[in-house]
Amino acid sequence: MAGLRINPSLCIGCGLCVSACPQGVLVLEHGIAVEQEGCILCGICVQTCPVQAISIEKEEILHENQQHSGIWIMAQLVGDGSLLPVSLELLGQGLRLAKERGCELSVLLAGAIDLQVQCEQLIQAGADKVYACQDASFDTGLEEPYYTWLTTMAKTHKPEVILVGATDWGRSLAPRVAARLRTGLTADCTVLNIDPETKLLHQTRPAFGGNLMATIISPNHRPQMATVRPGIFPLPAPVPEPKGVIIPCELKTRIVPLLELLQCETERSGRTLADAEILLIAGRGIGSPKNLKLLQILAEAIGADWGVSRPLVDAGWAEYQHQVGQTGSTVAPRVLLSFGVSGAIQHLAGIGRSECIVAINTDPTAPIFSAAQMGIVGDCVEIIKEWLKQIEGDSRVES
């Protein structure tokens, strides 16, 4: 059985592991760390130990991994049949990984509609192969037929890596595929790399609201699978001479889903905060719903989107769809202006991929400043009012 091993001849009895253990199962006995009942093998002590005295021993089960090759992207279509941007973002990353690994990059695309345009778009973006499957089974967009098809394809073609966008759809589909293939899956990755020595996929994801980054591997199982956060990687530039091929696929039997889609409405106009180029965000420091209204007017005037931190949604000043942070939207604008947001960890987790953050807050010690490239220590409402005054002045001059 797997277990924790503490090497008594290396242990210096510093006690760092004892205080680091979240389970409280490590104690010092005669100046040496000892494990008591209840270890969950989280590995935190292994990382903490300054003298590498602690290790986790794992029974290795060897698998036939040699025959797996190639990197796969599972593409996602939106309601109108166009490719979701994350599919292209993944394609860009997939190309880089395929180059590092020296293998092919394939995209899997399924839908009930004609897929020619989307296939060509993927080829233009540099895909080596596009497996395209047009079948009425895919008409509702619900995950069931898609994961059935993807699993069957993976069993036949044995890819080394499968990447899926970490949308709600992808995060429902990918675990289903991973469990069916009995392989590992890392959720919501933000960094992907091929280790130059082991050639394994290093999958890095934020943990504990982005305060810690964890790098995860799946050494003995294939395919290595990850869902990847949308909106953090750039769209790939079209390749000068696309050479990829489209491989039409057919379902052997029509997949009859158990779930039935009775009705589907778009919750809001396709555009979301995640698409914002310039974003104004209000926090508690905005002071009142009246001031929030001023921010909204300003946003409209300068062609920006607006969002809020969670306390404002909790207070009922704004709708949930405007909430930015770990439990709201993750955003990646070119410029983010943050008005009176203190910057709780959960909020910072949602704005970390912005190109430039400007924090405006009266409290110079507010955590938001640690995430910002530029800061103004002062009253955010004053800035808004001055800005609106100038805009009003301009429009008067024009008329």
């Binding site: 389970q23 709600d168 289903r176 991973a178 469990a179 009995r182 959720a187 504990f208 158990l258 800035i383």
Partner: protein, 246 residues
């Protein structure tokens, strides 16, 4: 309607029910009140997790199962969902086939949101994630509303099915005195790997394909430049920035 199962966050002496799982438990209790049946809570964890299960019992669950064994330690989502599946299967031998498995959307510490769909796969039943509202439920099927990628989908599912529920789907109840007394004597099964017939190669660290190789604190890329001067001057910098002139 028969047992309804719910998963609870692993670990810890001071651990609490995963907040998302409270909504799942409340939904199970509401369905039981309307259609009858029983509610079973299932968790994998160290023996101290029993305290959390007692709390679920005191809220009105009928039975609880704690899967606990050294062999389960270090499990990733695949190994965890395998182990939970075994617990559910063993419970079925006692109470008959279940209709509905409810999970919180995700755990607040790991937040992978993978256990639900992986467990459904191991049980061989369909699943619906991100459920916002249960619209209809009968002896044969349910209709729920799901919010996914900006779409509000009304989905109908036959039993058995697994749902992962969003927060705020309901207002979870607190235990009352009657419940607390019930929890003292309510059946709480503590099962180890052998008792659920676990294949040790699929449990715990050994059965986990994924491994954490490194953790690090993200580096700050640059320092924050604090703008000086009057409001008008500060504003000028912002306006230049928006135009991309900086």
């Amino acid at each position: 309607m028969d047992p309804v199962t719910n998963t609870i966050i692993r670990d810890g002496k001071q651990s609490v029910i995963n907040p998302y799982d409270r909504f799942a438990l409340e939904l199970a209790l509401q369905i039981k009140e309307r259609l009858g049946g029983s509610v079973v809570v299932v968790s994998m964890g160290i023996p101290a997790t029993a305290r959390i299960l007692k709390e679920a019992l005191s809220c009105g669950a009928d039975e609880a199962v704690l899967l606990s064994d050294r062999a389960f330690a270090g499990a990733d989502t695949l190994a965890t969902s395998y182990t939970l599946q075994l617990g559910i299967r063993k419970m079925e031998q006692r109470l008959g086939k279940f209709d509905l498995v409810l999970c919180g959307r995700m755990a607040i510490d790991g937040d992978t949101a993978q256990i639900g769909p992986e467990l459904a796969e191991q049980l061989g039943i369909p699943h619906i994630t991100d459920v916002e509202e249960l619209l209809e439920v009968s002896q044969e099927r349910l209709v729920c509303c799901r919010l996914a990628d900006g779409e509000r989908q009304k989905v109908s599912a036959p039993f058995p099915v697994l749902l992962t529920v969003n927060k705020d789907i309901n207002q979870p109840r607190l235990p009352n005195i009657k419940g607390v007394l019930w929890a003292e004597t309510a059946p709480l099964h503590l099962w180890n790997a052998a008792e659920v017939g676990a294949d040790l190669k699929r449990c715990g660290l050994t059965g986990s394909p994924t491994q954490v190789v490194r953790t690090h604190v993200p580096l700050r890329e640059q320092e924050c430049k604090v703008l000086q001067g009057s409001v008008v001057e500060q504003l000028k910098v912002l306006q230049r920035l928006l135009k991309g002139e900086d």
